[in-house]
């Protein structure tokens, strides 16, 4: 018996088994939703009222839809970054911090970069670029640590997130940094509102449906990422490094370059997500603005199993789940924690299903 043959037959059957993963994903989502309903019932809340609130919060109004879409954009960008890094077998858990530094950079440049008087689109493009660069820097630090010192990127990106989150706190607390001028003791720890010109244009131009231009940009990025990963030599080299860095190195593919490029790209996409959130929806930098976004984006990337289309689907799902959950809390008194529980259940169910499929093969 050659173990190569055994392994080959195993991989083949495993692939075949995982083919109907869409069915499994949908089933997992439905199963998790069902458990959620049971929990709502157990809480003593009217199930029909909760469902009505959920639907109202997601699809009920154009505003609700737009809010969900905007949320999904951030998840999708972080998720795509995760998928790119994951091709090189790197796990970027630093989305949270990359969003935070992106938001800080965008705010700083929008407020104090004299972008107000610039012609046309430059006044929001330049802050966005600042956000991208800041995120890229944050991702690159993890890349350098990985190459020079062999630091595990899970640890470094996670710890860099803490640094970024506290940096954000410092920025909004300190009047020397981004806190708005203290006029009274009641001045909130937040930045000034960014100038009108720096705000991202809305697709419809109508504040009742506030989807901003981040949506088409994200769609383009998703398409480009998909093409780069599948059709280009770079995508192939990234995969080679991910599967077997030693063999890839012997074949002349630079491990250091692949690590740097993929982590910097993941960071840049996180930074862009932060920029979009600040310039497109929030307009004011506040402590904790990135809270949860990075990790939800990470989970979207994780669930997608390397597929960019999968990231989009998961990002939309989570975006709408979150919006619906917030409305459920406000209207029906169901704690938002429950939505987190459902989200967690989806992840566990999918991962468990994949595990058992793998074992059966």
């Amino acid at each position: 018996m050659t173990d190569a043959a055994v392994r080959a037959s195993m991989t083949k059957s495993r692939r075949r088994m995982l083919r109907p993963s869409i069915v499994i994903s949908v089933a997992a989502v439905l199963a998790a939703a069902l458990v959620g309903l049971v929990l709502i019932f157990a809480l003593g809340v009217s199930v029909s009222e909760a469902i009505a609130a959920f639907i109202d919060g997601t699809l009920g109004t154009p505003y609700a839809i737009a809010a969900s879409v905007n949320r999904s954009i951030a998840f999708a960008l972080v998720g795509i970054g995760f998928v790119i890094a994951n091709r090189a077998n790197l796990v970027n858990v630093g989305g949270e911090g990359q969003i935070a530094v992106g938001g800080i950079a965008a705010t700083a440049v929008a407020l104090y970069g004299h972008v107000d008087g610039l012609p046309a689109a430059l006044s929001f493009v330049i802050p966005l670029l600042a956000a991208v660069l800041a995120g890229m820097l944050w991702g690159s630090i993890a890349g350098i640590l990985k190459i020079k010192a062999g630091t595990n990127e899970v640890i470094s990106t996670l710890l860099l997130s803490f640094i970024a989150v506290w940096l954000l706190y410092w920025c909004v607390q300190s009047p020397q940094l981004l806190r708005k001028p203290m006029t009274s003791s009641a001045t909130l720890p937040e930045s000034l509102e960014i100038p009108e010109a720096a705000k991202l244009p809305l697709l419809t131009g109508d504040y009742s449906f506030p989807v901003h231009i981040g949506l088409p940009v994200t769609i383009v990025i998703a398409i480009v990422a998909g093409i780069v990963l599948v059709k280009t030599v770079f995508g192939l080299q990234l995969r080679a490094v991910g599967f077997n860095p030693v063999a890839a190195g012997r074949a002349g593919i630079s491990y250091a370059r692949m690590v740097m490029v993929s982590l910097a790209t993941a960071g840049a996409l996180g930074g862009l997500a932060g920029g979009f959130m600040l310039l497109g929806e929030q307009y004011v930098l506040k402590d904790g603005f990135s809270s949860g976004y990075g990790f939800d984006g990470l989970v979207a990337g994780l669930l997608a199993r390397g597929s960019v289309v999968g990231v989009i689907a998961a990002a939309l799902l989570f975006g709408f789940l979150r919006s619906g959950g917030i409305n459920m809390e406000m209207v029906a008194g169901v704690p938002t924690a429950l939505v987190m529980v459902i989200q967690g259940l989806i992840v566990v169910t999918l991962a468990g299903a994949a595990f058992f499929m793998g074992r059966r093969a």
């Binding site: 018996m1 080959a8 059709k231 030599v233 770079f234 995969r239 077997n244 012997r250 074949a251």
Partner: protein
């Protein structure tokens, strides 16, 4: 079943009898309807190529696997072990290909491990050990640390671990693969003595020389089936080889045959016709290469060698004597602590793998799976992994062209796969190696080929093909450095041989069968 000879009438009952034993792994039929008798007091060789089912057979007898069909009888009783522990209590012991010894402990501690609980009288055990070694005619210091022992001595520890249980059936799975030539002889002597004491010995091998020397009876496996048996193996070697490889000995590459030990010397070293147009011929000069590892141990010591264009130089030595470090430095995977490598006038010591590929240095790495290929990627991708840039426009991969080029290369090098698109892991070891070789040999302007253990784990057909390709590369003017732990392979293929021992070159000699013993002695560290 093409029985070489009808089994002779036997007077005694078989010690172990297998009847129609079948074992599947998924869709792979590893052993099919195999029947086999082992007599007490005989040395029974199981002969077969890689993948013929030899190891599966041993693992079934030793209780590692459970057969899907068929029955086993041991000492006249039905025998169905569920685990190696069952086999051991029944009186069956096995020496595996890979040792399981605790390196920081002494010989006697390793033997005691797993045999006794509670308080231990180490001295009594040590005496027992010495007595046992004495009985079988070899020396073993019970208080030596495993770390200080040679591979052959370590194997003796494994053997003693088995013999101290006084087994009635003793299995050895490819025991000679790791040994020096004179150690092989000693091992076979031990096997003989064990058999003379009434224990049956089952010896798994693919080397015919060992069969000639030690076997009472032989069973040949091919593709999981018993295809031949012989009661007088020494006189029927040719027929056994035919059964093993399903072909004629004459059609076999002579070097491959000599590696199996069927043809004595006379390896055909005639080169294929040199192509009309030869690339610029550059000599390789390796100058004082030294590698000191992280612990400060000198792994490679002042290695100096020059290889002319069109020359094959073999590096002999027991594994772990600096070969891996030498290969790593030449292939750009590690930096030397001192010394230089030149190709013609170009110093290549500090070039990275990409630059080495560009100057025409091809490398067939020792560890195919971890350095030579990316198992999860396709055959086509692997065959051009170092030249993907040739199939690029504006960053995009011209996949159709890549597939076509791969298909052409697969035909030329006889790489058998369903298509260039299948995962590399789906290929057999031989086909994987041919694919790696194809990639490295077809480098534009190949002027230096480093091949480390290029035939490890391959079957005879693939071995012959690999030799053919290495010779062809050499015929077109490339300098070839062939690192191998198989002395027969080096004698058959190389022009001259240097012997490595503890990182130093012990000596330099021509690759003639008459030099075998001298080389063997140098491999063991005796200066000549």
């Amino acid at each position: 079943m093409a029985a070489v000879k009808a089994p002779a009438q036997t007077s005694t009952e078989p010690l172990l009898a297998l009847q129609g034993v079948t074992k599947r792994f998924g869709s792979l039929l590893a052993l099919s309807d195999a029947s086999l008798d082992i007599m007490p007091g005989e040395v029974h060789c199981i002969l077969g190529e890689n993948g013929a089912g030899k190891s599966t057979l041993c693992n079934l007898i030793f209780g590692v696997h459970v057969p899907d069909q068929g029955a086993m009888r041991f000492e006249g009783r039905s025998y169905h072990p569920a685990s190696p522990a069952d086999a051991l209590t029944s009186g069956i012991a096995m020496v595996h290909q890979h040792f399981s010894l605790v390196h920081d402990m002494t010989v006697v501690d390793n033997v005691i491990l797993g045999q006794q609980r509670g308080f231990v009288n180490t001295r009594a055990w040590a005496q027992r050990l010495e007595r046992l070694a004495n009985d079988y005619g070899f020396a073993l210091d019970p208080n030596a640390k495993i770390d200080d022992l040679s591979v052959g001595e370590r194997q003796r520890v494994e053997i003693v671990k088995c013999l101290i249980r006084e087994p009635r059936l003793f299995l050895l799975d490819e025991p000679t693969a790791v040994l020096l030539p004179d150690e092989i002889g000693a091992l076979l002597d031990i096997c003989r003595r064990v058999a003379e004491n009434g224990c049956a010995v089952v010896l798994v091998t693919h080397k015919l020389a060992e069969i000639k020397k030690a076997a009472d009876r032989v069973t040949v496996l091919r593709g999981g089936r018993v295809v031949a048996r012989s009661d007088h193996p020494a006189e029927e070697i040719d027929a056994l080889v035919r059964a093993m490889i399903q072909g004629d000995l004459k059609s076999l590459d002579k070097s491959a045959a000599s590696m199996l030990g069927v043809a004595n010397g006379g390896a055909d070293r005639a080169r294929e016709a040199v192509p009309a147009e030869t690339p610029p011929q550059e000599a390789v000069q390796i100058d004082g290469l030294t590698v000191v590892d992280g612990q400060g141990v000198t792994r490679l010591d002042n290695f100096t060698l020059s290889i002319g264009p069109g020359e094959i130089v073999g590096v002999a030595g027991v594994e772990g004597n600096g070969q891996s470090e030498l290969a790593a430095v030449i292939s750009g995977m590690a930096k030397p602590s001192g010394g230089h490598v030149y190709l013609g006038n170009v110093e290549t010591t500090d070039l990275n793998p990409k630059e080495l590929t560009a100057v025409g240095i091809g490398v067939v790495p020792e560890d195919r799976h971890s350095v030579g290929c990316v198992l999860e990627m396709s055959v086509a991708e692997n065959m051009f992994l170092n030249r993907l840039g040739d199939f690029t426009s504006f960053g995009f991969l011209r996949r159709r062209e890549l597939t076509q080029a791969a298909r052409a290369l697969m035909t030329r090098f006889d790489v058998r796969a369903a298509s260039p698109e299948v995962a590399f892991s789906a290929l057999s070891g031989g086909n994987q190696q041919k694919a790696v070789l194809a990639r490295e040999i077809t480098l534009p302007k190949l002027s230096f080929l480093l091949a480390a253990q290029p035939t490890r784990g391959l079957d005879v057909g693939a071995v012959a093909a690999v030799y053919g390709h290495i010779r062809a590369a050499c015929a077109s003017g490339a300098a070839v450095l062939l690192i191998s732990s198989e002395l027969d392979e080096l004698i058959a293929v190389a022009d001259r041989i240097v012997v490595l021992y503890r990182g130093r070159i012990m000596g330099n000699c021509t690759a003639e069968p008459s030099e075998r013993e001298r080389i063997g002695a140098m491999m063991a560290g005796h200066a000549q």
